[in-house]
């Protein structure tokens, strides 16, 4: 299994500001992903964080709004830019090893006022 930590665990931010969320894994992993869970909803994949290259975004998500970095095989960041109340969600990172389980971090609960 993989142990994943996220910082911050929660934050309250003002409209128009940005927040960077960190995801740290206790071992090197090939695949890292970022998900969003809006209130009362299920999880939606935002993007795949690729080490050494640009992230791959899912339909409906763009780099200007959700820039992602992946400087090495154990760490990634997701920035939520120019926030609005609609960005209030839980943001989760996940890691996977091909053919095996996928694990999720504890999540970052973001509230935008």
């Amino acid at each position: 299994s993989a142990v994943i930590s996220q910082k911050p665990s929660r934050d309250i931010c003002q409209r128009g500001t940005s927040l960077t969320i960190q995801c740290q894994v206790d071992s090197q992993v090939t695949m890292m992903f970022w998900y969003r869970q809006q209130p009362g909803q299920s999880l939606t994949l935002i993007a795949t964080a690729n080490q050494g290259s640009e992230a791959t975004y899912e339909s409906g998500f763009v780099i200007d709004k959700f820039p992602i970095s992946r400087p090495n095989l154990t760490f990634s960041t997701l920035t939520v830019s120019n926030m609005s109340p609609e960005d209030s969600s839980i943001y989760l990172c996940s890691v996977g090893v091909r053919g095996l389980e996928q694990y999720f971090g504890p999540g970052t609960r973001l509230t935008v006022t």
Partner: protein, 112 residues
Amino acid sequence: SQELEQSPQSLIVQEGKNLTINCTSSKTLYGLYWYKQKYGEGLIFLMMLQKGGEEKSHEKITAKLDEKKQQSSLHITASQPSHAGIYLCGADKTDSWGKLQFGAGTQVVVTP
């Protein structure tokens, strides 16, 4: 795109009783994951199924994937208060391993 339907949406079960949650796809499932989520927290990995007819168990939880790989079920035997939470099924998107699409979730309440 692949749609995952979970049923029931919620259920209330008396402690000690069994419960079953279903997850159905319109397309073949290449990898089916079950997770448990406590309110507002991260996802706890339960089980992953890949092969048609596969069945896995851990403690009192059993998950199955049918032969056609389009339906999975999660069964909890003799439920306990610790089983309360939201259960989510997720499946690999057909074109890319590791990118999961999730069902809407099933909220489980266990009463004394």
